[in-house]
Amino acid sequence: MLSPLAHRALERDGLGDVRDRVLSGERLSDADGLRLLEAADLAALGALANHVREARHGHLAFYNRNVHLNPTNVCVASCKFCSFARKDDQRASDGYTLSLDEAVGKVLSRRPLGITEVHIVSGLHPDLPFEYYTELLSRLRGAWPELGIKAFTAIELHFFAEKFGLSYQQVLTRLREAGLDTLPGGGAEIFAPRVRRKICDDKATADQWLEVHRTAHRLGIKTNSTMLYGHIERLEERVDHMRRLRELQDETHGFQVFIPLAFHPEHNMIGRAFPKPTGYDALRTLAVARLYLDNFDHVKAYWVSLGERLAQAALSFGVDDLDGTVLEERIYHMAGSTVPQALSEQTLHALIRAAGRVPAERDSLYRVLKVHETPQAVA
């Protein structure tokens, strides 16, 4: 139930019509999305997003126990927001490529921790054969059959298709045979061509990114989706980005979650010109995503990007998922993130409970593994 105070505030802000559409389950237009982003009334926006969030998920807040694996940081692309990529794997430039034994060993060493998912993303390495990737997955799958394998962004998959002369479907089919379960949502950045030209003009286009996900969805592979915000994009371009995701979701229903990612400015090309987006921007973007993306089940606040405090606050602004324990995060940390590289499950529980929510561990496919009942209900 939306409270009288929220009703009054939304009326005052001239958002009564948007509220009515939300409450009646009607889809928001792009203009609505933009108005909400520009509204500058965070409490009222949050109340509306929270209403939708609680109607979908009650007090549950999802997380998983996951480990990150970045097999190589060598990348032929030159995205201007990236602090992770290196041009070669020379030690002098901090470049590295893990051998298969190292990569598999790293993941398997985490097995005693009750990990349920590995998140694998890499640079676009100019020399590695396709077998490196299929072998990596099949060895993981063979050694750890129940592990959820979430691997390779659409950018990498597009790169494989071009480099190895395969169709998206062939790439995905072969990786799935090797053990792939789901795709991460990275590489989406901002779909608008104006922005892509400026920040990442030499990797897969928006249409290619969407086509990879469409192909995955048709093959029954669930995927995640992201948006890198807070650099040179306009608010209209954020709405445009979400619209394209919403349209593909209407078509395939293959997206599990939307994850807005705050741009981190350190050690990359555009950070010199643009400071890190503020927490206010994070909260309003998450809240508007919850309201605009009516066909998405989950909206995630990636705590590595936001910090634990903002991520916790986000649980009242439309967010129902905090990612996971995230062992060994590297990409954001190379861009200046100062948050811990991992959170214990206990810490995640404490964060969630202190926000009045109930921690629910999920797997890669957002199936609930365990609801960790609160000792007492907190408002």
């Binding site: 409270s3 503020t278 909260l283 903002l310 408002a379």
Partner: protein, 626 residues
């Protein structure tokens, strides 16, 4: 298969839809009994759950089965007051012995009508026979179908008329822990079955007891409501609250069989909603209301109300800040507070007292950066008497006449008075004479001695802290007020703290602003407190509502980070603190948020406000480019 649960229920027609589907259940064995007997069986532990009248909830710490109940939203037909004459002239009412909930409802309804008769227990048949003249009778259950009387008051209808809410008469109550989520599913399944066959149940009832099956069908489908959603819960809570107000029932918290996904929200009582609405309009909250809000109100409800207050107190879109420098003149301290990572004992190798050379450098830098204030605080150094401070202040004022001295928390002033064996008033006079401009509100922690004794046993007491502020305010000094929460205190302690501040502010009007932050665990000896963003935003919003006489609320970006502080600007705060050139105390415990003036202004603008610089009296100095 686990042992079957035992469930007791009444045989009234209105219970049939909930119990019919349990016949033949493999999980739950049904026992039929009179209403009062159902409650006794449950209390004695002879059954695991029972369909009981809501008044029976006060007989134990029961868990309510979510989702289903027996209620009505308007006329119920089977809970009636009957009499020959109008209830307005009744002086005695006979109460059917069967149900306490109905007794209480009858009393509540008659009370609202301004009728206060004597209540006499009597079986329904006898009561009805004697309901003549100024006497009435309560009739409940299936007997109600056949009552004939000149004056009939349907208590369901009266309740809904009175409150606008449904009335819940009975529900499944379970012994704590006895009922599992699977059992709730079984009860739900049974209810779904029973609700689907209400026509058949009506026919069967008519065949057994006589009467019109169509009438019973209408009763089961149109009069009785079987859902227990948020709206019904609100009705239930309103009823229990009224009954408790009148002393008919003890006050209780509703608890549910734990079903996290479908558990209805912990409902706020109507009085809390009303309190929030009134506070949003500027009404003064009582401490009881504030405690209730602290414990129960959702974050964004507090936030919306606080935002409404901020808009009323500070219309427009200016958010202020000050450029100042924190100077910690010494880290030598004798109080050894458990939460402090900054202090060192005298003689420790890291102990220091800043010399004039160092101070000169710091103040020159401050002036160069556009700073107009020095926030001077330090430990309670046992060797520094009032002369040391007087010299220091005079020296600062001579060299930098434009710099304001926002210095010495109450703790330090108290310490100086004690060390120099001076009365408090004289101490303050001398410090003001030397150049003291205003007092920071630090060291308040939680102004409740129960908490203070535990976390800071050597610190000044609540009364002493307030005495310094009172004396300073009377001498025309202004000060801020602070609260550090999350040290294991409860809502009542936080509210007690705010109340002491509000009372003093009523008396002196000397507080310019309030600032709170959570205890920062990290480098100290206390166990980690709830140093979370969620708790911070809640506490901050509650303070905006409760401290109706304190003009300004500062967002604490230094402790919470810029993003959470921006959210606080939308939930009660109108000030973004200071561009802080140095802050040793908090950073010693691990907080590492740093911002320069440009960054502070970017945060203010990005959150939808216009930055403006102020002085320490919160007077505007300079509007900044929007």
């Amino acid at each position: 298969m686990p042992k079957k649960l035992k469930a007791a229920a009444v045989s009234f027609l209105n219970a049939w839809p909930l119990t019919e589907g349990l016949k033949g259940s493999e999980r739950i064995e049904l026992v039929l009994a009179e209403p009062s007997r159902c409650a006794e069986l449950l209390e004695a532990g002879e059954v695991d759950l029972a369909l009981v009248s809501v008044a029976a909830l006060e007989r134990g710490e029961y868990e309510i089965v979510p989702g289903m109940a027996i209620g009505a939203d308007g006329p119920v037909q089977t809970v009636l007051l009957a009499g020959e004459q109008s209830p307005a002239i009744w002086d005695e009412v006979f109460l059917d012995t069967a149900s306490r909930t109905s007794h209480i409802l009858a009393k509540v309804v008659l009370d609202a009508m301004g009728v206060h008769p004597k209540f006499t227990p009597l079986p329904a048949a006898d009561g009805l026979a004697r309901a003549r003249g100024t006497r009435g009778a309560l009739v409940i259950g299936d007997r109600g179908f056949d009552v004939r009387a000149n004056h009939l008051v349907d208590l369901g209808r009266e309740w809904t008329h009175l409150t606008g809410l449904p009335m819940i008469f009975a529900l499944w109550a379970a012994r704590p822990g006895a009922v599992l989520p699977e059992d709730v599913q079984e009860l739900t399944r049974a209810a779904q079955h029973g609700l689907g066959v209400r026509t058949e149940l009506a026919q069967r009832f008519a065949a057994q007891k006589g009467g019109d099956p169509e009438r019973y069908r209408r009763y089961l489908t149109q009069r009785i409501r079987y859902g227990l959603g948020p709206y019904e819960l609100e009705g239930l809570e309103a009823f229990l609250a009224r009954a408790a107000d009148k002393g008919f029932l003890r006050r209780m918290e509703l608890r549910f069989v734990d079903d996290v996904v479908h558990r209805p929200r912990a409902r706020r009582t109507l009085s809390l909603d009303a309190a929030l609405a009134s506070a949003a309009e500027g009404g003064r909250l009582s401490p009881e209301q504030a405690e209730g809000l602290d414990e129960k109100a959702p974050l964004l409800e507090l936030g919306l109300a606080a935002d409404a207050r901020r808009r009323a107190l500070h219309p427009g879109d200016l958010v202020t800040y000050i450029v100042s420098r924190n100077v910690n003149y010494t880290n030598v301290c004798t109080t050894a507070c458990h939460f402090c990572a900054f202090y060192r004992p005298r003689g420790h190798r890291e102990a220091y007292v800043l010399d004039r050379e160092e101070l000169t450098r710091k103040i020159d830098e401050t002036v160069a950066l556009g700073g107009i204030e020095i926030l001077l605080q330090g430990g309670l150094h046992p060797d520094l008497g009032i002369e040391w401070y007087e010299d220091l202040f005079r020296w600062v004022k001579e060299r930098w006449p434009a710099i304001a001295l926002h210095a010495l928390s109450p703790e330090e002033i108290w310490h100086i008075a004690r060390t120099s064996q001076l009365p408090l008033g004289e101490t303050i006079d001398r410090l003001v004479g030397a150049g003291l401009d205003s007092i920071p509100g630090g060291g308040a922690e939680i102004l409740d001695d129960e908490v203070r004794r535990r976390i800071a046993p050597l610190k000044c007491s609540t009364d002493e802290w307030l005495a310094v502020m009172r004396a300073a305010h009377r001498k025309g000094l202004r000060s801020t007020a602070t609260m550090m929460f999350g040290v294991g205190e409860e809502a009542r302690h936080r509210v007690a703290h705010l109340l002491r501040l509000r009372e003093l502010q009523d008396e002196t009007g000397g507080f310019t602003a309030f600032i709170c932050w959570p205890f920062q665990p990290g480098n100290t000896r206390l166990a980690p407190g709830d140093g979370s963003a969620h708790a911070y935003l809640r506490t901050n919003a509650l303070a905006r509502l409760f401290l109706d006489n304190v003009p300004n609320l500062q967002a604490s970006w230094v402790t919470m980070g810029g993003g959470v502080a921006q959210a606080a600007l939308h939930m009660g705060c109108n000030d973004f603190g200071q561009v802080m050139i140095e802050e040793n105390v908090v950073s010693a415990a691990g907080t590492a948020f740093k911002m320069d003036g440009e960054e502070v202004e970017r945060h203010i603008r990005d959150a939808g406000f216009r930055p403006a610089r102020r002085n320490m009296r919160y007077q505007l100095q300079e509007a900044r480019p929007g």
